[in-house]
Symmetry: C2
């Protein structure tokens, strides 16, 4: 494994490679699950028999609702232990695979971190911040899940450029050319719907633009303008990233079912209208011929179906239903 | 005015040019209003004082709900006369303005025709078919309004190519390059939602593909394939039509508020789900910064708010509420 930046290209030693999940988990203190959200269900089932008290799981990232869904599967599998399931709101590195065993890391992300149950967040964060000192802690996994910024950034561009992506097989600059004023307006609306859900849950989320600027992804001038369009036009790290070659790409296949679908369900549960989030999910489902309302994290899969607002806040704090 | 095809280029004599609506309407038997739907409201107000019994109005085309909305305005203006308000489902010609006073007509359309009230459709059609013998009559204006095929054809391509249109300023072939498999799937879904509303109103509509083929717009092979994608790829008349230069074009500004918005309201009134039609309206509203749910033909503007299915069918047949 090669880390190319910021400290130059280097070989990264892996402490130990295991052949089975059982072996990998045996002596682990913190179990970082760094896979696309579509694989979380698989890993929950794979880990369930071997997790032990005193360990912690970290979904890196949890997308939207990852920790909730992971814990629900552990409960269903009858796991009795009390392992905190933590998540970050986005991946700890901005990186791309550039060849076999070669990863280019552009930057370390300032991720947000929380645990389910929320009452163990501080305890878990003490361990996590030893690995990722740039990270900050949030109260509970609703706060990390609802700051899944990929869910704001990716679906509008995919849907509003669906024809272009298919026709040109992705041969254009996704974030720069693909984010036109209309696309940016839809992103801003998704972001507002997301923030309205946060507000209903009694916490204040930064705007997408704030995260984007603080991560060093755009210029001071663009940030001051308050325009998401300008922020994407002036995003140096994103300037040359090509659009996906087709529509079966994680910007839809991950960020719809494990990004905006759980947000939409949370919005519905809390009576917060989210028409544009709903519209993107409906269109993505037709575009890819998959009912993302069913394949994504539903309230039932997240284990929070039928809860009141108070019940939900109690559950994420204590990890047990009242 | 020059008609270029099918009979070659020729000068078209206009019988009489009037300076006022009053003068134009004075001796008219059939009043053809051939304007974009966005101007129907204006013409309803302008004509209201001068319409007389024995005349008929034809909205060419009525888009979706044009005749209903026109009649509602006449009622509000206190017009007491009993002038049938007719509409076609699409424009009587496929044509483009090619220069000052020059229009290129590619073909005459096989339009559908109906009157409000429906009980006068046959009487009015006798006059109309003298002008347009290729036309066919339908039972009432719900049937013409719900076969507004532009409403199926245009919005999906505009929304799913919004980024491309803005970036390239429309410099691609709209119907051919812009209709990729994903775009065609969304069109097919809009068409199914439209047909489900027709079914609830107890009439059977042809598919978009049937209209498109019968109009000579695609090949026999594409028609037999049943694929809307292939039908658009093999559409000779549409092959070289460029995409609009921006998103403030009638494919959205007309076909959303006077096309799929009234369809969506009818669907809601009749308990027919139309999620993709709704999604396109919501996205178009954000894209253009206009709430098309409000600016388009609502049930109230069409004068049918609060009617039951039976009440609605009675109204379109008799022109008066039960």
């Amino acid at each position: 494994m090669i880390s190319a930046s910021p400290s130059g290209e280097q070989f990264v030693h892996i402490h130990r490679v295991c052949e089975t999940i059982e072996e990998a988990l045996e002596e682990a203190e913190a179990i970082l699950i760094t896979v696309p959200a579509i694989a979380h269900e698989y890993y929950a089932h794979a880990c369930a028999p071997y997790l032990k008290n005193g360990q912690m799981v970290v979904l890196n990232p949890g997308s939207t609702g990852g920790a909730l869904a992971f814990k629900k599967i552990l409960r269903e599998r009858g796991a009795r232990m009390d392992v905190p399931i933590c998540e970050t709101n986005t991946l700890t590195y901005i990186c791309r695979l550039v060849g076999p065993s070669r990863v280019k890391i552009t930057s370390r992300s300032k991720v947000q971190f929380a645990s389910l149950p929320g009452k163990k967040t501080m305890e878990c964060y003490q361990i996590f911040k030893g690995l990722f000192p740039e990270s900050t802690e949030r109260k509970n996994v609703l706060e990390t899940s609802l700051t899944n910024i990929n869910a704001v950034l990716h679906p509008p561009g995919m849907i509003l450029n669906a024809g272009w992506i298919e026709h040109a097989k992705g041969n254009f600059s996704y974030y720069c050319e693909g984010t036109t004023p209309a696309v940016a307006r839809v992103m801003e609306k998704v972001d507002k719907e997301r923030m309205a859900i946060c507000q209903k849950l009694s916490f204040k989320s930064d705007r997408f633009l704030d995260f984007f600027y603080k991560a060093g992804s755009t210029s001071e001038r663009a940030y001051q303008s308050g325009s998401l369009y300008q922020a994407l036009q002036e995003s140096e790290p994103n300037r040359f990233i090509r659009a996906p070659e087709n529509l079966s790409y994680r910007f839809l296949t991950e960020d719809i079912p494990f990004g905006i679908v759980p947000m939409a369900y949370l919005g519905r549960m809390l009576d917060v209208p989210a028409p544009i989030i709903n519209a993107l999910i409906d269109l993505a489902s037709i575009i890819n011929g998959i009912d993302y309302w069913k394949t994504g994290w539903t309230l039932e899969k997240m284990g929070i179906q039928g809860m009141s607002l108070e019940g939900l806040l109690n559950y994420v704090e204590n990890g047990i239903s009242a």
